[in-house]
Symmetry: C2
Subunit: 132 residues, 2 copies
DNA sequence: GTCGTATTTAGACGCTATCTAAACATGGAC
DNA sequence: GTCCATGTTTAGATAGCGTCTAAATACGAC
């Protein structure tokens, strides 16, 4: 609770009760939830919160770097809870998104791209997770 | 016309009039059109074609490798008309998707990923195109 | 030509996300 | 503390993209 409030303040976000509830819940979630998954999770502790508020909160968090908005799944936007850069692997069978550590891959040639300013980049892999 | 029919046959797709019309139109399109953009383009030459038919045709084409379905833009799926592999740069301001030649970047370490089978990968860059 | 299958069609439906207008809360000035 | 201006939340309406459905149509094999 205190941590979540501090996290929002540090990011320059006014910590309302609803936003704190969302931030709190995000800390306990894993993977790459959609906005609706966050909405339903938050409603377990804050049943009256509205859809628009959760969507607004997530958009605000993304603007302030608390989470990252990602276009990785078809039909819906997912929120990436990890702040450190990393790559992604999307399982073709299940659609599940897995993180790939930043250091596992190295992209050569980004600095030589002169046509545009690179703000961010990542490798997106489509594949299949090994059953092990 | 003949070329489009041949392209579909080569891919193992039964070339109906509607599918040929879609394939024909795709050959004249540039960039990364959405299904609805393809629909409206095709209707210029085939005004009675239905939405479902264009969506079905594109899904079929994607299944047979004629085009690639890509999740790069928020809220909608785009179809990639180029068959050779390449990377993508998404302009943060305009949302326009640009192709980056495969040879412009080199990803090191993909072969060493042992947790999963890699079917395909690409670098996705977010940035800003230089005005020049 | 006849039959069975594949395809197309218009419209209904579902889902994700945004917008709207009203209600509500909050922080600062006094 | 009270007042006001501003920021926030809310429920429901709305919009956009995509899929589904059932009926009509076209097609290939025989």
């Amino acid at each position: 609770m205190v941590k979540a409030i501090q996290q929002l303040r540090d990011a320059g976000i006014h910590p309302t009760a609803q936003r704190v509830a969302v931030a709190e819940r995000l800390r306990t979630m894993e993977g790459h939830p959609t906005a609706d998954e966050v909405l339903h999770a938050v409603r377990q502790t804050y049943p009256t919160i509205s859809r628009a508020t959760v969507y607004n909160a997530l958009a605000l968090f993304a603007d302030h770097g608390v989470v990252h908005k990602r276009t990785l799944r078809e039909g819906t936007t997912v929120y990436d809870l990890r702040s450190e850069p990393h790559h992604h692997m999307i399982d073709e069978e299940t659609g599940v998104i897995h993180d790939v550590p930043w250091d596992a891959l190295h992209v050569v040639g980004v600095d030589e791209l002169t046509d545009f300013d690179v703000l961010e980049y990542q490798v997106v892999i489509r594949g299949r997770l090994h059953r092990s």
